[in-house]
Symmetry: C3
Subunit: 332 residues, 3 copies
């Protein structure tokens, strides 16, 4: 589980800003570490800024809101998608990027600690995006950094910007969150994506359904946590029982590396594949989402279906990350 | 052999643009996949734009023609030269670059398909340059992408921007193509560079000479294809017979990895080395070209010879790639 | 030892510029290869420009002094710190960067020579920063390049920009260099950092103290060289004897890879660790420096001490590299 850093422990760039009514002040100089730091008003504000980013990108492509600002894109493990998305977000805002993908081979390989690396990079950059294989790495970085840290995934811990873009996708595609039934499919045990999204959804009035192989069920601790917040939840062995009522079908990858026995993986991986036939039993107004990459969980035949939202989801991610960068740098 | 995508199958960004007489409209939103997609008028147009790019770079270095545009530089196999050249081209036009060199280790390693990777990246970028080890990869990417794909080499298939820069080098150095004798030397069997250049040259009135070790001769299919287009061709066992009439000597590297028997490689590699003595029998007004990197095929003593055009060739490549980027983004 | 290229052998971009009184003309188009190329007036000029850079960054963050200029950041071995620092320096000056970190796998792996790689890159870029594992690599690159080469470390040879930033740190932190006692601690045998810094310091009126394990003592050749320039030097087995008079304590990492016998490493590595207790015997007005990364040579408890200057040192590095880039591109 991630170590969440309470707001009062976080080192803000300008800790004495009046918070007052101005919500944007709540984000200026702050870290984005965990979905647990946001309330509904925060989300509404973020999505409002993301909508503006979308409008600006569609109208002019790129603009100079963050001209002169520098992002250090610090990836301790590779992630083409997330790294490219933040790079594009910064560049579309007129800022520059220091790409750091080779940490395996460099200072870090020489034994440098994460706090030292971060305190060095903040001499060169205005904001640091951090992807790290260890749970709690972003929180640790934020304890030492003066500049804002954005968590781009720390092991099986959190990936808050993914959860935000997932929720923004639902908002943009279906126009609301309250009243929806969200069905999560696949690896619900190790998938930090579904964990973070479920936590964000618990701020709304939703029904959550879980469909997974037995060894990959939603962790009981998380189910209890959501229950204590009053979220109605149901588990299903197969998709059939849940699909008819589903507004959002969130599909995840069953990762080979999770299995000790590769035979188990081979037997299971095909059991939760979405095809055009699957969708024939679904609502007209539902959406299929996936954090990508997919490796066969959704047939390519589904891509043409208007309900297939997973590539649009990538694009919404750009707008959410633009919004977050602008917010923590005080330019939203 | 590469799968060439016919123009009517390509998905243009703005497929309803009037093509009319305006040649630039033929390139806006289009993919650059194969030399076979160009006719002589296209080449003249491209070289005209490349000449303008050269003049602008020489005058001001960089300008803002593509300000706000983003290039995803997607390299599935490393190529410092080609990657740096496209990066510089985009930056000299005022645009930004998302560098993606680590695909080995990331989404793709997790099993993501090329179409999915491309459809993700086009959410972040305006144009995608693709280097891939498999023949036909760029054509496959282009079938799925809405944004323009530029083929930066797909295995032993095509490398159209290299062929274009080679031809542009001839035009700039010798002032014409018609009437020239072009002698290709070295590995003519696996060298996609010479194959693509030979195809482009077949649009002109040229004589082609081939000089290679027996196991690395020009493929018979390509010889037949060029013959059917009326290109006079001749094969030589050694350079002596061909050199006197040569206007363009195109030297290629004999790659160690092509040989099963390293002894064969060691014996052959020195047999086609260009030295100042070699050039003493050549015309005054000829040029020596090489796609680089060289590993001894041309002695460093030749570098000072005014006929040594291979470093200028790199620079012409910058202008051709600037031209192509501007053209497919509708700004030429 | 590095091969230093005499000024008259260096190929300047504009070799016929009047040198006159205008010191900036001494750097326009020139290479930065070795600390031995600078005299005290040069250093004063460089630090003056670096101070201006600092003031500009603190006031506006980024500005467009090098807009339109391109830096090729050519790293044959990885160095997150140095690479990021130059990237940030170029971006804060409004310029662009071609990042080249994968040379292992590309042209170079195919056997391309350094001169060819450099002559290719200068077709795309305006200045080349080079990190290379071999002593003398930068000097060799500079012999072939028309564009300025900045040495970012060549094996155990030189790392002149590190030495310049070290000296600039001393100037900024203590206000002067003359009259100071500088104590160097750790691996003084292989540390190119301390070698280069000692050479720069020999231009001033300083006392140098050396504290190191016996097998890692300052090389006798360098001690003789400094002695011949009149620098008072003293060796100590432990820090106690030297600390009381020390104004600058320069700590270096004892690198595991230097030891044939890892047992020796384990036994020695802890022997020269700086703790708050260590500093209790030090002057109030001294500074602790370290080129970073550290791996335990300085306890993290020391970080809060106002004398701990090693993170500020990183930031001074940014200003020095901005100054050098602006100077060699004629914009200082």
């Amino acid at each position: 589980m991630a170590t969440f850093v309470p707001a009062n422990e976080r080192r803000a760039l300008s800790p004495h800003l009046p918070l007052g009514d101005r919500r944007e002040a709540r984000f200026y100089g702050k870290d984005i570490l965990s979905v647990s730091q946001f309330d509904r008003d925060d989300l509404e504000y973020i999505f409002g800024v993301a909508k503006e980013m979308r409008a600006m990108v569609e109208r002019v492509g790129t603009f100079d809101l963050l001209k002169g600002k520098i992002l250090a894109n610090l990836f301790y493990e590779p992630s083409t998608r997330t790294s490219s998305s933040f790079t594009s977000a910064m560049e579309r805002l007129g800022g520059s990027v220091i790409p750091i993908n080779e940490v395996r081979y460099s200072s870090v390989a020489k034994g440098e600690s994460l706090p030292d690396t971060v305190r060095t990079l903040e001499c060169y950059a205005d904001v640091i995006v951090l992807r790290h294989p260890e749970v709690g790495a972003s929180a640790e970085a934020a304890r030492y950094a003066r500049k804002p840290i954005i968590n781009a995934g720390d092991g099986i811990g959190e990936h808050p910007t993914q959860a935000l873009l997932d929720l923004f996708t639902i908002v943009e595609e279906l126009g609301r969150v309250d009243g929806l039934t969200v069905t999560m499919l696949g690896d619900l045990k190790y998938g930090r994506t579904v964990h973070s999204l479920a936590r964000l959804l618990s701020l709304y009035d939703v029904q959550l359904n879980y469909v997974s192989p037995d060894i990959l069920r939603m962790p009981i601790e998380l189910v209890e946590e959501l229950k204590s917040r009053g979220v109605p939840q149901a588990e299903y062995a197969g998709l059939e029982g849940a699909l008819g009522e589903t507004d959002v079908l969130y599909v995840t990858r069953v990762q080979k590396e999770r299995f000790d026995d590769l035979g188990d993986y081979e037997r299971l991986k095909g059991a939760y594949v979405i095809t055009p036939e699957t969708l024939s039993a679904a609502k007209e107004q539902m959406v299929v989402m996936h954090p990508l990459p997919r490796v066969g969980e959704i047939s390519m035949d589904v891509d043409q279906d208007p309900r297939a939202a997973y590539f649009r989801q990538m694009e919404y991610g750009l707008y959410v990350r633009m919004a977050l960068l602008a917010m923590v740098l005080g330019k939203a």
